[in-house]
């Protein structure tokens, strides 16, 4: 099984007055794992459904391995899909579910191949269980095995983890990535969970109103957000007023590099909480308002004049940051997005 290139070219799709896809362009390299991330209604699921052939595009092209499949029905696109809702056929057991696509293709030794796929997702011993005898996580694993069994050109994952509890989500998320790396199938993963997207994808596409705002490796999306929307949507950001001078912006007395150049003058910088240091200082301009212990990290909310600034601090720093303590804020010189 080797991956193929996918190109969504100028896709448009409207539902009444809503532009679900607005000239969407997305190129996926063979074997690549792309996560589409965005708020509800941004068009990420529509993009996946158009690629699957379950939704028609009003305009644009879907190219798979260089071939135009825009008008091809879903049943002839050879794509494996795992849905958000449990989609196993209730009248078939796990093995029969995985065999389903293979039998439609008249594949000999379908049962053997299906058993192999169940082993791959760690459910070899659950072959005779019916969907109502499997947990949510197990059902999604069988659905993944079923999607991969047909050796799809592209694997499509439509929020497959959103119905699962937190622990199973993380386990299955890692397992999906492991299996995808093993089989090398080009994969499009749609999610609204930024942690999920950042954890598994080779590149993350952040969508807004039917368009891609940024498509880049996870670290770049997080550390160098291309737009204010991306900075705001992926992770937490403080909106701090500053003044742009050349290729830096001065914020709270610190000079920070810009992600993208902009004209000199007043602007708002989007600064991550982890880029802000908080040090107790009787002469500092800030006052601690509240602190919260979050397990591996902690958070302090500091007022500076009218501004509210959220900073990430370590658990060890917390005792020195009681509410009302005077503090000095230090901004680390990492590139920031502005608006």
């Amino acid at each position: 099984m080797s991956g193929v290139a996918v190109h969504l070219k100028g896709l448009r799709r409207t539902f009444g007055a809503i532009h679900a896809l607005d000239d969407l362009d997305l190129e996926i390299a063979p074997g690549e794992f792309i996560a589409l991330l965005g708020p509800s209604g941004c068009g990420k699921t529509t993009a996946l459904r158009v690629l699957a052939g379950l939704e028609d595009a009003d305009a644009g092209q879907v190219l798979v391995d260089g071939k135009d499949v825009t008008r091809l029905p879903a049943s002839r696109r050879d794509m494996g899909m795992v849905f958000q809702a449990y989609s196993l056929f209730p009248h078939l057991d796990a093995l029969q579910n995985v065999e389903f696509g293979l039998r439609l293709r008249g594949r000999k030794k379908a049962a053997g191949r299906a058993a192999e796929m169940l082993d791959l997702v760690g459910l070899g011993s659950f072959a005779t269980r019916f969907p109502n005898q499997l947990s949510g996580g197990q059902q999604q694993r069988v659905a993944l095995a079923r999607a991969l069994a047909i050796e799809p050109t592209v694997l499509l994952l439509d929020e497959p983890l959103s119905a699962l509890d937190a622990k199973v989500r993380v386990q299955l998320r890692d397992e999906i990535r492991r299996i995808q790396t093993e089989v090398g199938t080009t994969t499009l993963f749609v999610t609204h969970d930024q942690e999920e997207a950042l954890a598994v994808a080779d590149r993350v596409g952040v969508m807004k109103a039917g368009r891609l705002e940024q498509l880049a490796p996870p670290a770049e999306v997080y550390l160098r957000p291309a737009t204010a929307f991306v900075a705001d949507f992926v992770g937490l950001s403080n909106r701090l007023p500053g003044v742009v001078e050349g290729d830096v912006i001065e914020v709270l007395g610190d000079r920070l590099p810009l992600v993208a150049p902009r004209a000199a003058g007043a602007a708002t910088a989007l600064v991550r909480p982890e880029s802000i240091g908080v040090t107790p200082d009787p002469d500092g301009s800030g006052r601690v308002l509240t602190t919260s212990f979050l397990g591996p990290t902690s958070r302090a909310t500091v007022t500076v004049g009218d501004l509210l600034v959220v900073a990430q601090v370590s658990g060890a720093e917390l005792p020195a940051l009681a509410p009302g303590t005077a503090v000095r804020l230090t901004l680390r010189p990492v590139p920031v997005a502005t608006e």
Binding site: A52, G53, L54, P73, A74, S75, R76, R77, D78, M79, G80, M81, F83, A85, Y86, S87, L88, F89, P90, H91, F100, G101, L104, R105, N132, A143, R146, A147, I150, L156
Partner: protein
Amino acid sequence: MAGVIARRARKQRAFRWTVLILLGVFFLLPMAAMLEFSTRTAGTWSLLVDWPKLNETYPDLAAGIVASLEQAGLTALLMLVLLVPTAIWVRLRLPRLRPLVEFLCLLPLTIPAIVLVVGLAPVYAWVTYFLGGSSLTLVFAYTVLVLPYAYRAIDAGLSAIDVKTLAEAARGLGAGWFTVMWRVVLPNIRSAVLSAAFLTVALVLGEFTIASLLHRTNLQVAIEFLGKSSATMSVAVSLTALLLAFVLLLLLSLFGDSRKRKT
């Protein structure tokens, strides 16, 4: 406290039994009377289980039974062929039409059979012209008549599964629309389809008005004729038809239970 709860439970049990006994008497007493009446003439029940003899002695009744069974089978078949794909298609592709289809399917429930016959009479003049006057042509009218019950049963079956996701999953795996319906949706609404079929059979076996007014024969028309010459036999056949309907409804509820157990 425990005493109050025990007293309340005793009262509720007594109330349940009273209702059950009253209803039992209400339903069973007429049936017992029918049974008693039908045994006044010797040989009535033995004749009923001896088909060649029954056919010879009461040829009209035998013809009515055969006609009703054929009508029931064909109506169930036609109803399923028309309604199942329509209901599935509406759910999958035309969800906006669902209220309209539901309204159309429930409409026969609001129209009295006698009014239906007035409307059907001119249509049946054409049916007779093209297909002859066979009693089997009643199948068309009966298919309309059973729509409300059959639609409800099938719609309930479809509501119990996520048809859209299952169909999309199957299509993604390479299944065409026919395969989606035959191998994915239908097996998952099997008990609903059986319920619809049982209700259809029960309704057709008990239908009298349309057959009588359109001058066709069926079991109920034959019973009515028979009542004029052999009252005991007519009551015996009525009782048998009634019990058959009860058995069908019992089977229906058993299928419903097994579906609930599975989900």
